[in-house]
Symmetry: C2
Subunit: 437 residues, 2 copies
Amino acid sequence: MLTLNETHEAGLKSWVESANEHDCRFPIQNLPYAVYKPADGDDFRVGVAIGRQILDLRALAALQPFCGAALQALDACQGDSLNALMALSAEHWSALRLSLSRALRAGSAHQAKLQPLLSEHATALFSLPAQIGDYTDFYISLHHATAVGSLFRPDNPLLPNYKWVPIGYHGRASSINVSGSDFLRPLGQTRPLPDAPTPSFGPSQRLDYELELGIFVGSGNAQGRRIDMDEAESHVFGLCILNDWSARDLQAWEYQPLGPFLAKNFASTISPWVVTLEALAPFRVPFSRAADDPQPMPYLASEHNSAAGAIDIQLEVALSTRKSRAARHEPHVLARSNFKEAYWSIAQLITHHTVNGCNLRPGDLLGTGTLSGPAAGQEGSLLETTRGGKQCVSLPWGEDRYFLEDYDRVVMHAYCHKEGYPSIGFGDCAATVLPAG
Amino acid sequence: MLTLNETHEAGLKSWVESANEHDCRFPIQNLPYAVYKPADGDDFRVGVAIGRQILDLRALAALQPFCGAALQALDACQGDSLNALMALSAEHWSALRLSLSRALRAGSAHQAKLQPLLSEHATALFSLPAQIGDYTDFYISLHHATAVGSLFRPDNPLLPNYKWVPIGYHGRASSINVSGSDFLRPLGQTRPLPDAPTPSFGPSQRLDYELELGIFVGSGNAQGRRIDMDEAESHVFGLCILNDWSARDLQAWEYQPLGPFLAKNFASTISPWVVTLEALAPFRVPFSRAADDPQPMPYLASEHNSAAGAIDIQLEVALSTRKSRAARHEPHVLARSNFKEAYWSIAQLITHHTVNGCNLRPGDLLGTGTLSGPAAGQEGSLLETTRGGKQCVSLPWGEDRYFLEDYDRVVMHAYCHKEGYPSIGFGDCAATVLPAG
């Protein structure tokens, strides 16, 4: 999975001109997948992004342009979700990527055939890229865990298991939406006010975002068969952006002893584009632990993981409000962080999740948990930025926020950047909070 | 849903003779659904139990014997899961039940047509009755919460939210198996031993069962639309038995702060038969709270719930071991309890789950949590029976247990009994623990 090949060459150009522009997030080195409906289309289908265009893979499959594993993989793109493609193997995904890269490359003999299969990204509609069977959310930022722990448990912020166990819990699959799906502010119970005889009930007053990445499982495992570290990454199809909306007041009251429930399951939002692990290969970095942190237990360790288990992905969360949009202000960036600082790697999440025999299925989604950095301006949630709602955030257009208000719109971005290489972008992950219904 | 109708008449007899036997758990008043493959069949299909036989509803649908809503409901039984039937309405389920009851009744004109569609229950294979999109597990036995809480948190057994919030969390859908699917003992991390520098790793030493009921959601709700108490039961298709296997040593180490994860998601087992809520109507009982317990908050209260929100369902868990089976001993009953003692009702679980806008989908499964009673002999888990592994259970064939050992087989039963009415049974929920792989 780490091997760089011709699809990664920095100098590659596409015959789709917009893919070669300097600030394009979907150059030919990226080739992420989504499920979309073109402006003039009747239904949803699988596509691959190239510049400001989307190539219709269902229509391409009908032309039978490839052979071998690439053709098999393309044939799996004829439904309205990525699950069938995900269910194949890393070899299939890689073969399809190579064939698409060659077909979209400047000078390709396929250009005339493919040109009619392109449509505008800007006017497309998107659906969830996959049917998500199970959704697991992890908690892999030590900085987030420490910051949040100190708010929920001031005397005991980081629990003794944190540095040994990749802490995770099951989330709700049914309420995961694709970017652009707005949602209602949740109602719920909150802790009784001082001297009140009963809990309060009403719209959440402490609604928050969580800046995460989502990891789409590709080929799964049979129940009872664990996935070892050395093969873990070959089970991962790709990554998306994930906003794990959280109602902090509901969470504080309900989460003991079995974890968050209604505080999270009203809505989660993911970006439509799934960037494959192979596209991220040029951005792999060593995975290391601080000198005073324990080394991972043997079942969570591998040479490859130490050498290149982390990925340098920059993350960003921005806010717009009804007022800022009316005045045409740009969304205000609230925080920036980086996935490479996570305490656990993707391979460790896969291996830990299956070590007890739990089966993963194609299309399952693993959330990383909020990806906060250690410094100010790197907080992946308002809970952290505002120190539990105590310090307000001033927005440049004259409003301020402790938590999200109605009609606030949160937009997240992720991208990989390095000198001399085209940027790999993840697209947008955005949604607006509507008033409680 | 509470209305008794002609399908509930105690005196009804079927032309399927085995349904009229005194100890039959599938009399004509029951009519539960499953997905099964007859001994001579090629594939799985939907069936309804009658006595010691199963009626093939896919084959019945081909005969178009009913009309109106009953026909529509029967047409939804032509796939290999109950999801399409579940997605209809309580009116449809009721119409199908009435038509099946009339067709299977002694003297029915349909007898000759239906007779060839029957096959033996004893030789059938079963699959999961539905594709389970999301699985939520609740914690509705106050007795269980108190007993377990006192083991995990001796100083703080019952948390302040318990009597206000129906505590629940998301479980794993992928590893839910139908009765008869044996599974491997899970591996995992456990708390460091005293003076050990690192956690331990290996097969769970404290493997346990949890005696629960599963609630299958029928028609769901759109995201953002809550289901009020008055309509909650009309969204419930029926109930099954659920064994929520638990690795207590993994759980104790991993569960803070986000709840149980690998301690539960290696396997859960459900009975193949889904007993409809309508079949349980004769066993409804008032739902009440102890005088010193708070009344439910308004959104969790309704007149119907107070009058008849609970259901009198007897539960039983029994154990056999490799030794006991070799010596042909009957499984030893470890505990008996009753669903009617639960602190929260089915309607309250549905309403609470959706109050924040979370969407339920047809085929979603809600577990009740371990259904323990207050007295000795009513513990729904070994954790409770053995007081956290401190007092062993003596088995009549000369073995004893703190937790489950390899090749132990746990079988759960549930049934409704009352004077002058045929017993309504749920079938078996059974599986065997195999050695860690």
